[in-house]
């Protein structure tokens, strides 16, 4: 990297983007203005920050600092495998990269709050992992975190995976109104659907039914189940309602909303991109249709009304006593909760069915990005900045780094290769459903597969952790079409402040009425009255502001 002054670089960037605008339509992933590559190929001046960094570091290279380095980092301690400074993970990491950690250990129960306080208090570590979107946004205005997009050229594996897996639109959705993004997200090769419905397959068998493929199928299945369920029970009684996000029955609404082409539950967004502009999700026709479906479920007594408010424990209790046959689940809970809960019911079996299909057909939405790493802005003045970015790039984004973080050391904790199916954990090492007779838990004893360092990655890497049942589920889901993510529409700090306030009132109204309409406490004939209530709470203003910032961003960055 030559000694180019920052001003010259920015001027160059301006020229490059002007050319890009003229040449290519926006959204074209090959244009210079989008994707993980900054507008200039050179990035900011880092000539003074190269201490310890490798001169030539590229895709496939093992990062090793040219001298021993120490980086401060925030590590979330998950009580299931509490932090242990002596883990093989740490010692081997130092051996390979010449880097040791100066760790601030934070209990998982309150990680976000501690992170917020440390950043606000001015003594946050340089590397801050486990950050979920959009939690990073509040730190941007103060300049407390680094605009990592400026430095993406120093992170070859990160940039390579974005290009290889065509993640440019997803990355673009993270950009702020200055065109930069501030989080290094976890990258997935394919959309990873984890949540769906758990269904008692022995009951299906008893009733001579097949696994429901569409939401209409599901209605019929539930109707049949109703004929044999004991008095006081409901064929479906759901969980994932506490805390409500935003209305309760978070997963049911999430997958149902997706099937109808809107956003609800876990996937709730204030605005949805439809026909070239943004509209308010809670007022969409599709949202109304989804509520209509729910209402049918409730009025025919196929869905337990308590689904929207009960605790997970309560829902599980009903499932385990045969008072319900269907409930929401994910890969983890189907193994740990559902299967265990019905263990005492003779002949009971349960399966996570592929997500039912709705009016939009066999398609799914979803980002291929997940939680990631923030870098403190203080790093800009650190002499080891480049080395640190290379280190982060290797550990979190390179194939060898990801494999190491997840499964450890070949010959010690595993044998074989994940790409040709020969991968196998060593017999004494156990993890989740794999090698249940093993004596040493890979997370607890060795520190591998730690949620702070190991996530994301290629589909093959992801599948290596799954039981065969889950792999089958993933393969079925991956046959579906992936719909594009919404384009970026970043707000300025001032606008965000205003929108936050409007949004609070609007979201409450939507949440309340979602449940009321579903439960039939409010007839759907009052839909228009409800939309007027939303208007009275500044819905139109919020949508206008969103569309304005979408237009603004489109004009500025393409």
């Amino acid at each position: 990297m030559s000694n180019v002054s920052r001003r010259k670089v920015l001027a160059g960037a301006g020229a490059a983007s002007a050319v890009a605008l003229g040449l290519a339509a926006c959204g074209d992933s090959s244009s210079e203005g989008s994707g993980g590559v900054p507008n200039s190929t050179q990035g900011p001046d880092v000539s003074k920050n190269k201490d310890g960094a490798m001169d030539k570091y590229g895709v496939g290279d093992q990062f090793k600092a040219t001298k021993p380095l120490k980086f401060s980092i925030m590590i979330l301690s998950n009580a299931a495998y509490p932090y242990n400074a002596n883990w093989l993970f740490f010692t081997e990491l130092t051996k390979r990269t010449n880097v040791t950690f100066d760790a601030t250990v934070v209990p998982g129960s309150d990680y976000n709050q501690k992170r917020s306080v440390m950043i606000s208090g001015g003594n946050a570590p340089l590397i801050i992992p486990k950050t979920y979107r959009p939690d990073d946004e509040q730190y941007i205005a103060s300049g407390a975190i680094l605009p990592v997009s400026d430095y993406a050229s120093l992170m070859p594996n990160f940039s390579d995976k974005i290009k290889k897996w065509k993640l440019e639109p997803d990355i673009d959705s993270m950009r702020q109104d200055d065109g930069k993004y501030y989080l290094l997200p976890g990258l997935h090769e394919s959309v990873w659907k984890d949540y769906s419905l758990a269904v008692r397959t022995d009951i299906l068998q008893k009733l001579n039914l097949t696994v429901p493929k569409t939401w209409d199928d599901l209605l019929n299945v539930l109707r049949a189940m109703k004929t044999i369920i004991p008095a006081g029970g409901y064929p479906m009684s759901d969980r994932f309602s506490v805390p409500p996000q935003p209305a309760g029955a978070n997963n049911l609404l999430s997958i149902l909303g997706e099937a109808y082409g809107t956003h609800a539950g876990y996937q709730w967004q204030a605005t949805t991109f439809k026909n070239g502009k943004f509209v308010y999700t809670g007022a969409m026709d599709e949202y109304k249709q989804m509520l209509q479906y729910l209402n049918t479920m409730i009025s025919e007594k196929l869905l337990d009304p308590e689904s929207f408010t009960q605790t997970d424990d309560k829902a599980r209790q009903k499932f385990s006593t045969g008072m319900s046959y269907v409930m929401s689940c994910n890969a983890q809970t189907i193994q740990n909760d559902n299967k265990q809960d019905i263990a005492k019911i003779p002949g009971a079996t349960v399966v996570k069915i592929p997500v039912p299909i709705g009016p939009i057909g066999a398609a799914m939405t979803g980002s291929r990005l997940e939680n990631g790493v923030m870098i403190s802005a203080k790093a800009k003045d650190s002499p080891n900045l480049v080395a640190m970015l290379q280190f982060v790039d290797w550990l979190w984004y390179s194939d060898t780094g990801q494999m190491f973080a997840k499964w450890g050391i070949e010959g010690t904790t595993y044998t074989g290769n994940i790409n040709d199916g020969s991968f196998k954990l060593m017999p004494e090492i156990k993890f989740a459903g794999l090698n249940p007779t093993g004596t040493k838990n890979i997370q607890v004893e060795y520190g591998f597969y730690n949620g702070v360092f190991a996530y994301g990655g290629s589909t093959k890497l992801l599948n290596s952790q799954f039981a065969p049942e889950e792999v089958a589920f993933q393969e079925e889901m991956n046959k579906r079409k992936v719909l594009p993510v919404d384009p970026p529409h970043p707000l300025s700090a001032d606008e965000r402040e205003q929108v936050t306030l409007w949004d609070a009132g609007l979201k409450d109204t939507v949440a309340q009425n979602t449940v009321k309409f579903a439960l039939g406490q409010r007839p759907l004939s009052e839909w228009d009255a409800y939309v007027s209530e939303l208007k009275a709470k500044n819905m139109d203003q919020e949508v206008d502001l969103t569309n304005k910032s979408y237009d603004r961003y489109k004009k500025a960055h393409g």
Binding site: S116, I119, S120, G121, G122, A124, E137, Q138, Y139, A141, S142, G143, A144, I145, G232, S241, V242, P243, P244, P246, A247, G248, P305, E306, F308, T309, Q310, T311, D313, K314, A377, A493, E497, T500, L501, A504, G505, D508, A511, Q512, T514, V515, K516, L519, Q521, K537
Partner: protein, 331 residues
């Protein structure tokens, strides 16, 4: 309380509350003329207050400067005193937000209802306990009654939600009287009774401790005197016991009035859901959702100041009324 007694003093005494030597039968507190004289007379007393004052200044008043962000734009990670003056912007923002007034009203109602029940009931329980003859039984009941105080909010919320669920204890009773089960947790009109009952349940036992300690200070002779005068148990309670614990009662009442807006958000958060927002959403949950979760700390600080000012006004008023009405006050 018995009448003040006159005490003769040798001339070299150093009391502050006594008549000058030679003055007959009058106990007049004599005001010191100058500050220096009072400090010299009571320096030992003032010295006792030094360390606590240091505590207040360093750990309470210094951080208070942080409240300035209610009037300045603050961004997490930036200067803790904010970046620029914005004056009353945030104040105007929340004053004009209809959701704010709604949750404020909810807070007033919920706080008032809680106060109405959680204030007198520990007193009643303490008095009832006092009437139990067997010491062992009294101590046993008292020790059990404070157990709920130690349960974490998460556990308590779990207990409550379970009890009022469709097949929980409460609905078993409802079914027993022939009614169909009521989904209490989903109905806004039931939130307040549920919340207040859980507060009473959790605090009643612990609240008696203070009163029981206060009861021990009552002069036994007064009871003797009342009994000799032919007073029944009830009259003894009314004329001896209650006045005896009045200072404790009034102190607690004034303090509780001052802080009744501060309804903790964690409990409401665990008990409410969108269906009960109309009655359950209070200032603290609102500030949590809108201010804290989104990083709008300035907004949260502005609302916090608003609450504080109201609390202070309430305490001063309550203190004033208490002083006039019953003669006891905080200051």
């Amino acid at each position: 309380m018995s009448a003040p007694k006159v005490i003769e003093l040798p001339p070299e005494s150093r009391g502050t509350s006594l008549a000058p030597p030679g003055a007959p039968d009058r106990v007049i507190p004599r005001r010191q003329k100058t500050l220096r004289q009072s400090i010299r007379k009571d320096w030992q007393l003032y010295s006792l207050a030094v360390l606590p004052l240091v505590f207040f200044v360093v750990f309470r008043y210094l951080p208070m400067a942080g409240n300035i962000i209610a009037f300045r734009r603050y961004h997490p990670g930036g200067s803790i005193f904010g970046d620029q003056w914005v004056g009353l912007r945030y104040v105007r923002l929340f004053l004009s937000d209809s959701t704010f007034w709604h949750v404020f009203t909810n807070t007033l109602i919920l706080g008032g209802a809680t106060l109405l029940f959680t204030f007198p009931l520990p007193i009643v329980l303490a008095l009832l306990l006092n009437e139990v003859r067997t010491r062992f039984l009294r101590r046993f009941v008292q020790s059990i009654s404070y157990l709920p105080h130690f349960l974490s909010i998460v556990v308590v919320a779990g207990i409550i939600v379970e009890s009022v669920s469709v097949d929980g204890v409460v609905n078993q009773a409802v079914k027993a009287i022939g009614h169909s089960p009521i989904p209490f947790i989903q109905q806004p009109e039931w939130f307040r009774p549920i919340y207040v009952s859980s507060e009473v349940w959790q605090t009643i036992g612990w609240g008696t401790i203070l009163y029981l300690a206060a009861l021990t200070t009552i002069d036994g002779n007064l009871y003797e005197a009342a009994r000799i005068d032919g007073a029944s148990r009830w009259r003894q309670t009314w004329h001896v016991t209650l006045p005896g614990i009045r200072p404790t009662m009034m102190t607690l009442l004034i303090l509780n009035i001052g802080t009744f807006l501060a309804i903790g958000f964690e409990k409401v958060l665990l008990l409410y859901n969108p269906l009960t927002y109309p009655t359950a959403d209070v200032l603290s949950t609102y500030v949590y959702r809108v201010g804290i979760l989104t990083g709008s700390f300035s907004y949260a600080a502005a609302i916090g100041l608003f609450e504080s000012i109201i609390g202070l006004v309430l305490v001063i008023s309550a203190n004033f009324v208490s002083r006039r009405a019953v003669g006891t006050s905080l200051w």
